[in-house]
Amino acid sequence: MSKPQLNLTRIIVLDLWRHKWVLVVATLVVLNAILVVYTSHVSRKLTTQWDQLLQERDRLDIEWRNLLLEEQSLAEHSRITRVATKELNMSRPLPSEEVVVRLP
């Protein structure tokens, strides 16, 4: 029995080499599948983040509205007038007392 010695490893490698394009494509398919998973994961995270930012915006809007109310009630003209005249002893000059300063 003198069959030629076959190297199995060699055969496998040769065979793989013969179908190299299939291999490349198969790898790409797997890579692609992983990327799809990864992308959808990232997109979900971004969506969550977006939603949280929207909620944050709504919260800030509400806070802004409340601050506006506070500002309006503190800066109310009659209150300013009262504080200026009573506490700071200021008074509004009559038109005849006004001095016009012209910028050159």
């Binding site: 309006q72 009659s78 038109p95």
Partner: protein, 578 residues
């Protein structure tokens, strides 16, 4: 070794066993594949539905009603989100919600209501599916109620409208009802502009409540719009303060002030007394909520006189330099008498206006056909809507009839027999200041000057305005309307109020004017209705308000006063060390 034993040593294939095992294994795989195919291909909907039930949610984005601001961006109306507490009585009963009474007690405490009253609402009809427990609850309280975890008690978003200006602009801005719908004033007229609709969107939520996927939009929301008014809150506040003081001092029934920008027709202030606090809705009274400056009409009296003079000048029936004899200070027409407060002698047109001579005015009015006079008054805005476009505006009344007695024509010339609103009057006086151009009144801030209409020739408008300067100077009827630094042209009016069958003892005191005369900016009308004090003349009651509002407003608008003082020049000398 026997033959039998030998046979046994050699293993034999038992075929039927092999077939059974292989068959079973195949069946297993076939059924698995079949099941998978069934789920995946034949009936995938059911599981998808199950999944969607657990992850799909519809979120809605609440929108707040638009802001109303004055021309400088100061807030006049702001919406803030609050919550409404409501209960589903059926669910409360089904889930045995009354087991823990401490929670109900806590709810009652935080809502400041007796616990029995709340329980009564829930218990009265166990089949009911909805009842409000409390509306317009602040977010803090709402969170607390949420944490009580009462079965069948829920929170709902709604919004509350705040009016930082309070009573100062109450009638003009109006109010919304509890469902956020404008029912008065600007809130009512511009309701659809200010209102938005919430957008609804389908989303997929993960187990921990995060949104992971946004799906289709169920309902396209409409974002609300803000509104910028032409009002200047500083002037509005000043006008309200002065008017309120005058109304109280003279114990008047009501009062109105209108401030118009002469060159654009924008309303800078429109205030009324008595007013109300729009933030406290419990004590609303209709008579306080009316925007009297545009809804209430009255006979104007003497304030109409400058326009009769202008009409006669325009018609050419009298001349600029005409001197009119008023001897002896009274005049008999058709069995009735027109009289002046005293005999003033022969007068020029300016003097007739300054002394508010009825006899002189009668002569002027009788010099021209009545239809021409009426047509002229109509062209300056009497009997027409002003263009402000708010609900409830009144157009006033001008009689349109064929036959006029001479006495009626005479009374027309000093402001009886026709009615106006304060807003119309302000618009008429603005015409004098704008060289005869009539602009539509606007309550919204304008981006560009509107198209006006030349209703008086510039020369006549100018000369009538200059005739009115004397009114506020020494010897005129309204020295209290004099402003140092801003020469003002104005006219008083004190009209008796008509009652059934004649004229009563109540008066309407008015002052209308434009200033500064050299370059008019503002037209202001002050109307004080039924002053009950010792004084009731327009020159005593309304003129001080006019002077205070006009001088303050012109100062705020940075209008340069005309003073005799030398003007300070910024010196160009560098202040370096010597």
């Amino acid at each position: 070794m026997s033959k039998q034993a030998k046979r046994k040593q050699k293993p034999e294939l038992i075929h039927w066993r092999l077939y059974v095992v292989v068959g079973l294994v195949c069946l297993l795989f076939v059924s698995l594949i079949g099941r998978a195919a069934y789920i995946q291909i034949i009936e995938p909907e059911k599981l998808r539905h199950e999944s969607d039930m657990r992850t799909l949610r519809t979120t809605s984005r609440e929108v707040q009603r638009g802001l109303i601001t004055d021309r400088n961006g100061e807030m006049l109306a702001v919406s803030v989100p609050v919550r409404a507490v409501w209960a589903d009585p059926k669910q409360v009963h089904d889930k045995n919600g009354f087991a823990d009474m401490r929670r109900w007690q806590a709810l009652a405490d935080v809502l400041h209501e007796p616990v029995d009253a709340i329980l009564e609402r829930v218990k009265s009809n166990p089949k009911k599916r909805f009842t409000y427990l409390k509306r317009q609850v602040t977010p803090g309280v709402a969170d607390y109620i949420g944490q009580l975890k009462l079965p069948g008690v829920f929170l709902k978003s709604e919004s509350r409208r705040y009016y930082p200006a309070g009573e100062i602009a109450a009638q003009l801005i109006g109010i919304t009802n509890i469902d956020d719908i404008g029912i008065e004033g600007i809130e009512n007229t511009y309701n659809s502009w200010l209102t938005g609709t919430p957008s609804k969107q389908k989303v997929r939520k993960s187990r921990d409540g995060h949104v992971v996927e946004r799906l289709d939009i169920v309902q396209e929301g409409e974002s609300p719009n803000d509104l910028v008014l032409s009002i200047d809150q500083r002037i509005q506040q000043l006008a309200y303060r002065e008017l309120k003081r005058a109304t109280e001092m003279n114990r008047a029934t009501s009062g109105s002030v209108v401030v118009l920008d002469v060159h654009t027709g924008e309303v800078l202030a429109m205030v009324n007394t008595p007013s109300y606090n729009p933030n406290a809705r419990e004590k609303l009274k209709p008579y306080r909520m009316r925007n009297r400056a545009m809804t209430d009409t009255y006979e104007p009296g003497s304030v109409i006189k400058p326009f009769v003079v202008a009409a006669a000048l325009e018609a050419g029936t009298i001349k600029q330099d005409e001197v009119i004899k008023t001897y002896p200070g009274l005049m008999r027409i058709g069995g009735k008498i027109v009289r002046d407060s005293r005999y003033y002698g022969d007068m020029s047109l300016a003097e007739i206006l300054v002394h508010s001579s009825n006899v002189g005015m009668t002569k002027i009015a009788l010099s021209m056909p009545v239809q021409q006079l009426l047509g002229y008054l109509q062209s300056v805005g009497l009997g027409n809507y002003s263009g402000i476009n708010l609900a409830g505006e009144s157009a006033g009344l001008i009689h349109d009839r064929r036959r006029w007695s001479e006495f009626e024509r005479a009374t027309l010339s000093f402001g009886y027999g026709l009615t106006v609103t304060p807003l119309q009057l302000a618009r008429m006086y603005a015409v004098l200041g704008s060289k005869g151009v009539l602009y539509p009144v606007s309550i919204l801030k304008l981006k560009q000057k509107p198209q006006g209409e030349q209703v008086i020739s510039p020369a006549v408008a100018q000369s009538v305005m200059h005739m009115l300067v004397g009114v506020t100077q020494k010897g005129g009827t309204a020295t209290q309307a004099h402003i140092d630094g801003y020469p003002t042209a104005g006219k008083t009016g004190t009209a008796r109020k008509a009652v059934a069958g004649g004229y009563g003892d109540d008066y309407v005191a008015q002052f209308a004017g434009v200033a500064p005369v050299n370059d008019p900016r503002l037209a202001i009308v002050v109307v004080i209705n039924e002053p009950k004090g010792d004084k009731y003349y327009g020159g005593d009651v309304a003129a001080p308000v006019y002077a205070a509002v006009m001088s303050g407003a012109l100062q705020m608008l940075n209008v340069e006063p005309m003073t005799a003082k030398a003007q300070v020049q910024l010196a160009g000398i560098p202040r370096s060390a010597e």
